[in-house]
C-alpha cells in the first residue's frame, strides 16, 4: 500500500514538473518572432501592476500596487500608489524620482548601472530581451502561455540578478516578470488591465 502511495505521489510530482516543458528550437523561434513583431508595433503600453517582494525569512510577501506607462522607444514610468506613493520615470538620459512629493533625479548618462537598468526595464516590459550575447536563454511552455528565463552573462548584473523570468500570453504580451536574486529571494510583478497602443497623454510623462 505504501508503495502505491509513493508511486502515485511520484507521478503527481512528475506531472507537476512537466506542466512546464522545454520548447523545441522551432517553438522558441516562433515565440521570439511573435514577441519581436508585437514589440515593434508597440507605441504605448499602460497597465496596472502588483508587485510581490519575496524574502525567504518573511511570513508574507510584501505587496505593492501601481500603474505602469510606457512610450516607445524608451520612456517608462512606474508609479506606486499603495501602500506608499512613489514614482520613477526613465526619460532620455535622466531618471526622475518622486518620493511622496520629494523630487530628485539621477543622470543615467554618468551611471552605467542605471543605464543598464533602464534598458532592462524597457525591454522586459516589451518582452524584447532575446539577446543571446547578453543572456543565456531557456524557453518553456506552460499551458497556453510561454515562460522564458534570461540568465545575465554580464558579471556585474549577475551579482544582482540570477535570472529574469518573463511569462507571455498566447499573443505575445508580457503577463508577469520575475527577477530572482542570487540568494533566491525574488521580486515578482504581475500585470493586469494591460492596454497596448492606447495613446497616453504627455502629461503622464512630465516630470
Amino acid at each position: 500500500m505504501n508503495k502505491i502511495l509513493y508511486f502515485l505521489f511520484f507521478i503527481a510530482f512528475i506531472g507537476g514538473v512537466t506542466a512546464q516543458t522545454k520548447m523545441s528550437t522551432q517553438e522558441a523561434a516562433v515565440l521570439k518572432s511573435k514577441v519581436k513583431a508585437r514589440a515593434d508595433k508597440t507605441q504605448f503600453i499602460s497597465s496596472d501592476f502588483t508587485q510581490y517582494k519575496h524574502l525567504d525569512f518573511l511570513s508574507n510577501d510584501i505587496e505593492s500596487t501601481g500603474k505602469l506607462s510606457f512610450k516607445a522607444p524608451n520612456t517608462v514610468k512606474w508609479e506606486y500608489v499603495k501602500p506608499f506613493v512613489y514614482s520613477v520615470l526613465f526619460k532620455g538620459e535622466t531618471l526622475y524620482i518622486n518620493n511622496e512629493g520629494d523630487k530628485s533625479n539621477v543622470d543615467m548618462g554618468s551611471n552605467k548601472l542605471f543605464k543598464e537598468l533602464n534598458t532592462l526595464v524597457t525591454s522586459s516590459i516589451r518582452g524584447d530581451m532575446f539577446k543571446e550575447e547578453h543572456f543565456s536563454i531557456t524557453y518553456f511552455k506552460k499551458a497556453k502561455n510561454s515562460e522564458v528565463h534570461f540568465a545575465p552573462k554580464d558579471a556585474n548584473l549577475a551579482e544582482f540578478i540570477k535570472t529574469f523570468q518573463i511569462t507571455f500570453n498566447s499573443v505575445g504580451d508580457v503577463m508577469e516578470v520575475k527577477m530572482i536574486e542570487p540568494s533566491n529571494d525574488y521580486t515578482q510583478i504581475v500585470f493586469s488591465k494591460r492596454k497596448v497602443n492606447k495613446a497616453i497623454p504627455d502629461a503622464v510623462f512630465a516630470q
Binding site: K53, N60, Y80, F84
Partner: protein, 202 residues
C-alpha cells in the same frame, strides 16, 4: 580677573555635568532593572517600513524589512521600492553579519554606523543599574556595544533612546505613534554627523 576665572570654572563645570544632571533627572535608589524594547519583539510579525535616509545632501529611499527570526536574533533588509536589495544584515546576540551589501555601500565606515544604529534599535532586552525619573518620565541607563544609552519611558511606553558621550547626545532614537507595541514612526537622528533615518510603518 577672579570673577572671570570663576565664571570660566563655572562654565566648565556646567559643560562637564552629566547627561542626567543637565536634564534635571533624579537618580532612583534601586538595583538592577530590566530594560525592554518591545518594537521588534513579535516573531509572528513582518515589520515593514518605508524608509528615508539622508546622509549630508544625499538621499536614499526604500523599504526596511525587519523580522525577529529567533530569540535574540533579527534580520534586517533595506531594498529599493522596486525590490532591489541594498543591504541585508543579521543580528544575533552581539554578532553582526552582512548577508549582502550593494557595492557602493560596502564601506567599513558606513557599515559600522549602520551596525551600531540597528543593534540599538533591535536590542530587545538589556539591564540597567541606574534609573532616573522626572515627573511621569522614567529613564533607564544601559550599555549597548560599550556605549552609554538612556532609555526614556513615558505612559505610552518607550519613546526615546539616547546614545550619550561626555554629557552630549550623539544619536537619538524617537519612537512615535505607538500602539500595541508597534511604533508606527521611528526617527534615528545623529547629532555629530548629518545622518537621519526616518521610518514609517506600511
Amino acid at each position: 580677573m577672579r570673577y572671570l576665572l570663576s565664571s570660566i570654572c563655572f562654565l566648565f563645570l556646567i559643560s562637564c555635568a552629566s547627561y542626567s544632571k543637565k536634564n534635571a533627572l533624579v537618580k532612583e535608589q534601586i538595583n538592577t532593572v530590566q530594560v525592554y524594547n518591545p518594537y521588534f519583539s513579535n516573531e509572528a510579525k513582518d515589520y515593514v517600513y518605508k524608509a528615508d535616509l539622508q546622509f549630508y545632501k544625499r538621499k536614499f529611499s526604500g523599504i526596511i524589512i525587519i523580522k525577529k527570526i529567533a530569540e535574540k536574533e533579527h534580520r534586517l533588509v533595506f531594498a529599493t521600492e522596486m525590490g532591489n536589495k541594498i543591504f541585508d544584515f543579521s543580528f544575533h546576540q552581539n554578532e553582526f553579519k552582512v548577508n549582502y551589501v550593494l557595492g557602493d555601500m560596502d564601506k567599513k565606515i558606513i557599515l559600522n554606523i549602520l551596525q551600531r544604529d540597528f543593534t540599538t534599535l533591535l536590542k530587545e532586552y538589556n539591564t540597567s543599574t541606574r534609573t532616573f525619573s522626572r515627573e511621569s518620565l522614567n529613564v533607564k541607563e544601559a550599555e549597548v556595544g560599550n556605549k552609554r544609552h538612556f532609555y526614556f519611558y513615558e505612559n505610552v511606553g518607550l519613546t526615546k533612546i539616547v546614545r550619550e558621550r561626555k554629557g552630549k547626545e550623539k544619536v537619538v532614537y524617537h519612537f512615535l505613534e505607538i500602539k500595541d507595541n508597534i511604533a508606527q514612526r521611528i526617527l534615528i537622528e545623529h547629532k555629530n554627523i548629518q545622518l537621519k533615518i526616518k521610518l514609517k510603518g506600511i
